[in-house]
Symmetry: C2
Amino acid sequence: MATLRQDGSPANRTVVFRGFVDPAAAPVLSASGHTLGHHSLKLVTDGRSEKMDQLAGRTEVCWYFTKTREQFRLAGQLHAVAPTDPLHAQSWKALSATAQSQFGWPHPGKPRAGDEAFSVTVDPETPAATFTVLLLVPDWVDHLMLRGEPQQRWRYQRQDEPPRTDQHEGHNWTIQAINP
Amino acid sequence: MATLRQDGSPANRTVVFRGFVDPAAAPVLSASGHTLGHHSLKLVTDGRSEKMDQLAGRTEVCWYFTKTREQFRLAGQLHAVAPTDPLHAQSWKALSATAQSQFGWPHPGKPRAGDEAFSVTVDPETPAATFTVLLLVPDWVDHLMLRGEPQQRWRYQRQDEPPRTDQHEGHNWTIQAINP
């Protein structure tokens, strides 16, 4: 997942995909007051990590599926979920104990002092203060299929018109076949 | 590999690592007249691809090794190799016939017209005009090892002093243990 550092350089790291937002649930409230739809990808991060300063810029995820030889590039906006939204606590409880304990570790990316600080306990029922849920809301997708002769590639773009009032997911998308 | 679009958004895609530049060879000349050292990562691309407009900004590669559970983030500058440099033709000849033929395909990323244009032949001995060798010269590395309890993470940074005159690879690097 690539984001933009404040000095204008791209940052790039591996993240764990935690699933799509449940389409049966209510829309999600972001920490900055946005209402987020269901077609978004969920991940979790430490609120002290550098990427938290990089939410304002755009984000592009690249995902390569080795078995099917498909590449998906998904670009859009990354949002932190409000700690008051039910998704926040749900996502915490869905983590393994090992994953939860990492949110009690020392400040990520800072110089390392020693190993003692890594022996911490966190409450499995209550999200740690550092725990943050992020949603990527894509508006651009580049789908490349390397299988086949010649290869196939499609570009999807979300249209800008506002969602219809009777549904959360009213955006239309265009699709175009492009050269691989 | 993440680069910066001219609109300031990050672009992210999978690339094939074509090896390191041979340390026994002479330094490589870039298309813009830079002399590039040996500690650089080689890849090839179509000169018409969008990333060619993104060489001026910084680049960050993220590489996750599934078996060893290590992540390397390598940031630095991306350079196109001068077509006159011997590495250019060497890299062309090292490609498979299938990989070579892709450089005769229609303009990548443009709307697709049909399949006929993909039946082309290229000269296996002479680099196609679209063929481009890129070198990533890293000056910053973030190495995360998820194995072990707790995890290990190191930050490497190249020092800015000019290389010593008696060797091409005179840069010093600092290394620091940081929190995972």
